[in-house]
Every structure is written in C-alpha cells, then in structure tokens.
Symmetry: C2
Subunit: 357 residues, 2 copies
C-alpha cells in the first residue's frame, strides 16, 4: 500500500504476517512440482458425479453436519460418524483445532522445521508456542516433547522433510501428554507411512488430521478431516458452528463421497506415485543430491555442490516449479513434488543440463 497514513480504525486491526502459499501459475505449460498436488486426476466417479450434478440443489443450504461425507469417512476408517470432523481442507480443520484446543498459557510445541502454517495460526490466535529443533537427520527429538506444554502438533511424515516417525514413537508422546491435545497432521500418510489412527481408541487427547488434497487428487475441492474421540470432535464442531454453520458446499460433499467410494482407483494412484518416488530417489542420488528417506509425495533434497536457490531459479526459467524455502537450516534444500514419470524425466533432464553448466 502506498498510503502510509494510519486511519483511526486501523489501531484495532489484528495485524498478522500471513502464510505464503506456493505459486499457482496461470501458464499451463509449467511442470508444477511446488505444492504437492497429485499428478493424476481424481477418481472417474468424481468426474461422473460432476457431469450429473443436480444443479437445482445449489439453491439450498448444504447439510451443516456434512452427514453423508462424515458417514462415508467413518465407514471407510471403521469409526462412528461422531469420531469424524470435516473442514475446508486440512488448513481449515487445523486452524479450528488451534482455536478450540490450544488455550493454555503454556506454550504449544512443534518442530522448528515443519509446516509453516503452525506459527501463523499460533500468532493469529495469540497462542504461546515453542519450536523444538529437529536433529541433524531431520528427526523429531522425542525428549523435547516430554516437557510441560499447552499442546503438541507435528506432521507425520513431517513436511517439508518427508521424514516418518513410527506409531510407537508417537504413542510415547501422546501417552506422556494426556493433559493436553496432541495433533498428528497426517496430510501425507497415505504415501507409505503407518497411520497412528488406531491410537484414538486408546487416547482421548489424540486428534489425527488427514486431507483429500494429496492422495485423493482433490486439492481443488478443499476437503480435510480430523478423527478422534467423540468429545474432541464435539468440541471442534461447537467452534465450527460458532464461525460458519455451512463450511462444506454441496459439490464438496457429493464429490467427496464419490472419491471415498472408488477405493481401487485411490490405491492404484498411490501405488503409481510411490513407484515414481522410489525411482526419483535413485535418479536424484545419481545427480549428486542427498536427502532423508521420504514417505510422502515429495523429496526434500540438497545438492553437494550447487546452492538450492540457484537450482530453483534455473528450473523456474525452464518452466519447472519446485518449492524453495528461504529459511534457516533449510535454505539449501528443494522440496520436489512427485509428478508423473514423464514430468520427473523432464526434471532430471533439465537438472542434468543445469548441473553441467
């Protein structure tokens, strides 16, 4: 803004430094490996349902309880619908969870290298927090999470590192922190990690959050969900109904259900992404990159000779977008989303040519 004069009303504005999402280029020629989208289209049943969508129902408010989608998820995961909360992407779910559960004067704990929305939500809602450094292999240090705190959150596998912790590791943290809510953000769990979901039956302080945006190829539909003890879910719903009764629109609900129903397509797509990821690990190693083993749909890699920023910019000039974080400890890493085999081959080719310059 050019106008720097402060108006009277501006003193009461909540001033924040917002999260910066990855670029969404208008140019469709771009190979987009920067926001962890799935390179494959959503299930054919989703497209079919879109074509046959009863447009007339758009005049009506959606079911505020998102019943059909909640029930489909509950059935899929062997839960009751009272164990499932649905929101506008996992960001909506997580933001609502921060507001609902993190109201202690003690700090909420999360890793120093992690999803960069956590500290944005903490600042927005004026929640005290403390970042716990990952070790030199980008692993979470369990002991750090056994100190007194106001809540815990981390992604598993972690983003942007791709590093997975075991269910036993998570259980120790959840067990030692039963006086606070522990949120495990499993946005990438479908790509080969083991979910800690079964622990919700044992610990009523554990909330597991997942999303349709990555493994279900539905980033554009905005569906995320949380699973946990029915008390946790009921508190989440109370806060949701205190912000916006109808967060999920009719297309999200109807198409979301279709996605869940077509399970074979879902599993097949994951298989393809995982196969390409494993092949990409080999290729990246050959090109002189190193990285921790990834259990997600991206690889977080550093090159032994060339600065990440330089590679990021050189790739961008070739219309290949990857993600670069200009941030302490990781400023020499690129987060590369797994695309199709063809897209990855283009990436390796361009990288080879850039590295030879």
């Amino acid at each position: 803004m050019c106008d720097t004069k402060q108006n009277g009303w501006e003193k009461n504005v909540r001033k924040v430094i917002p999260y910066t999402p990855g670029e969404q280029p208008g140019n469709t020629k771009v190979i987009k490996l920067n926001t962890n989208e799935n390179p494959y289209p959503p299930a054919p049943a989703v497209e079919e349902a879109m074509k046959n969508f009863p447009a007339d129902i758009l005049r009506l408010y959606p079911d505020p309880s998102v019943g059909k989608l909640t029930e489909a998820l509950a059935e899929y995961y062997g839960l009751k619908k009272e164990n499932v909360f649905v929101g506008v992407g996992s960001d909506d779910v997580l933001a609502t969870a921060f507001l609902t559960f993190f109201n202690s004067k003690k700090p909420v704990f999360f890793p120093d290298i992690t999803y960069s929305f956590y500290d944005v939500w903490a600042k927005l809602y004026q929640i005290p927090y403390e970042c716990k450094p990952l070790d030199e292999n980008f692993s979470i240090v369990k002991e750090d999470y056994l100190q007194e705190n106001g809540g815990i959150i981390f992604p598993n596998p972690n983003a942007p590192t791709g590093v997975l912790q075991t269910v036993e590791f998570i259980e120790e943290i959840v067990k030692a922190n039963q006086d606070v809510v522990v949120i495990i953000d499993e946005a990438y769990i479908d790509f080969g990690g083991e979910s800690c979901l079964p622990l919700i039956h044992k610990y009523d302080n554990l909330l597991v959050v997942q999303t349709f945006s990555k493994s279900r190829s539905l980033a554009g539909l905005r569906i995320g969900f949380a699973m946990g003890n029915e008390k946790l879910i009921s508190y989440l719903n109370d806060v949701k109904y205190s912000i916006n009764s109808y967060t999920m629109n009719q297309p999200s609900i109807i198409l979301g259900v279709e996605s869940i129903k077509e399970d074979s397509y879902f599993k097949e797509t994951i298989k393809k992404v995982v196969a390409t990821r494993e092949r990409s690990k080999e290729k990246l190693k050959e090109l002189g990159f190193s990285f921790q083993d990834s259990y997600s749909n991206f690889i977080f890699a550093t090159h032994k000779q060339r600065p990440a920023k330089e590679l990021f910019e050189a790739l961008k000039k070739k219309d290949i977008y990857v993600r670069y974080f200009n941030q302490e400890r990781i400023s020499d890493y690129l987060r590369i989303t797994i695309g199709t085999d063809e897209e990855m081959d283009r990436l390796f080719e361009e990288l080879k040519s850039i590295l030879n310059q």
Copy 2:
C-alpha cells in the same frame, strides 16, 4: 455427551454456545420457508458450467486470491478487484471481519433483534459487545450508535425483521464513527433495498457484505463477499491468509463467475420473488397477521390471536417449515421465507385451516 468426567485437556478447550442454523430436512416433500433460500434454481449458465466442468483441475489447488470471481464482482459493481474480498458464504466473511477489525476494548454495537450469529462471533473471539434495542417498530435508533464504541455491525434490511434503513441514515452512522469499522450486512439488499455501496468511496471505514445465498440461489455453493476501501480489504486478506489460503474451491469460483455473468436471469428471479412477497403481504394481512414492511425475501409476522409457537408447530405437522425464534421480544413472531407462488398458496391455505380450528 453422557460421559461427564472432565479430562485434563478439557480445561484448555474454548467453550462456546454455537449458532443454531435452521433445519435442513431430509424429507423433500417439505415446503421449506425457514432458511431464506431462493425458491428458483440458480442461473442456467451455472448448470451448464457444472455439466462441462473440467474435473481434472480438481487435483490442483484453486487460485488463493480467487482472482476470477473477485474480478467478476469488481466489474459488476464498478470497483477495482482490490475493493473485493470473497469468502465461504457471508458467514465466513463476517467472522473474518470480526476477527480482523473488532479488537478494541470498547464494545461493538449491534441491535438486540438481529442476525443471531453476531453475538456468537463476539463471544468466540472474546470481543466485548453491547446490544442496542430496536424501537417498537423494529427500527434502529440512530442515536444509540453515536456513542463511543469498538465497531458497529447491523444488517440492512435487518434480519429477521425485514426492516430497511435509508442510505442517508447509514451515512450518518458511518460518518460519526470514522475511528472504527462499520459493517453493513446486506445479505438481503437485492430484494428492493438501496445499497449503501457508493459510500465506500467516501468512507474508508465502511465494509459492505453481500452473499450469493439468497438473491443468486446459490446457498449450496457458499459464496459471500465484502466490498470496501482497499486497505480494509487488504487487512481482511491478511487474516484470511493466516487461517486458510484456499477457502474457495474450484467449483465455487467457476460457477460463481457464471452466476454473475447471467444478469438478466438474476434480475428476473428477484422480480418474481418481490412480486410474490408483495402478494403475500396482502394475504397475510387478510389472515390477521401484522408485520413491519419487508424489503427482504421473508416476512416477519405476528398474529393478533394465535401464539407464533403454536402456528409454527401446526405448520410443521403439515410439512411446512417456517422459522421461529424462542427469544425475548420476538417470541410471538414467525419468519416466513418467500417461496414460489404455489408454495405460498399452500401456506395460506394451511394457515387458514389452522386459524379456523
């Protein structure tokens, strides 16, 4: 919940009393006059766009700036895109505005009889507030809003009363309160009221909020928007980007634009609803109801002999849903949404028979 034992983590939960939305019956036989939906389907262009929707783009995140829809709205209202903010229904827009602008220690003012979400948001975000009583004709008392405050919000026309204030009336309030943000919630303005939108060019503290849910027959798509000075909009965007970068899904953006483009259908639909409303006023008077003149798509009526609650329940038995608020000063009123002529005729018939019992 049956289990009343408090767990340790529950002490840090934000406890709220959520807003209760009107019922969304599963039974499609019901004549739904309870949530102010439009009885006519959305524009044919919306249905067409749904049929031809490119399902493949659902795998990609939507444009976080909601560029196409923001631009379509800006063009329609003769504004710049920097003057427009879009959200998941006007509830999302208003909740975000409360969080962004109402951070004073002084109370926010709104009427005692008004949209019942205002005090829910105030409580959720711990914003002090004061309700200013409407006069005996359900009119806003201007002088009440000329006292020191932390912000002002009211709907125009007011809900659930349907009573409209003039633009001159609103200007006096906005002008006298330039040290705080004044939000005019114009959810129902398209049904015959005069919008105060032109005032945003004169007063940088005025935010005007509208919605696609009523006049555009798109309650099921969840689109609301705010218009105001670009500084106001920029602050709103900062907070939005601190909660959820991608609130509007791909279908909302694409179908929303189609709705704006088909302007003749929009105007025709409004004309039909207004004609039915005017006819309904006559009929309701004949049946012994009285009400303030309504400029919205509902009539807020009381009967001289029969209690509103009794009528509400008798109509429900006949599969006709209207809205009843069990609340001080208005517990003898029904809020009746304007349906099609056929639906209203069924309502009058049933009311006649109930009143004759």
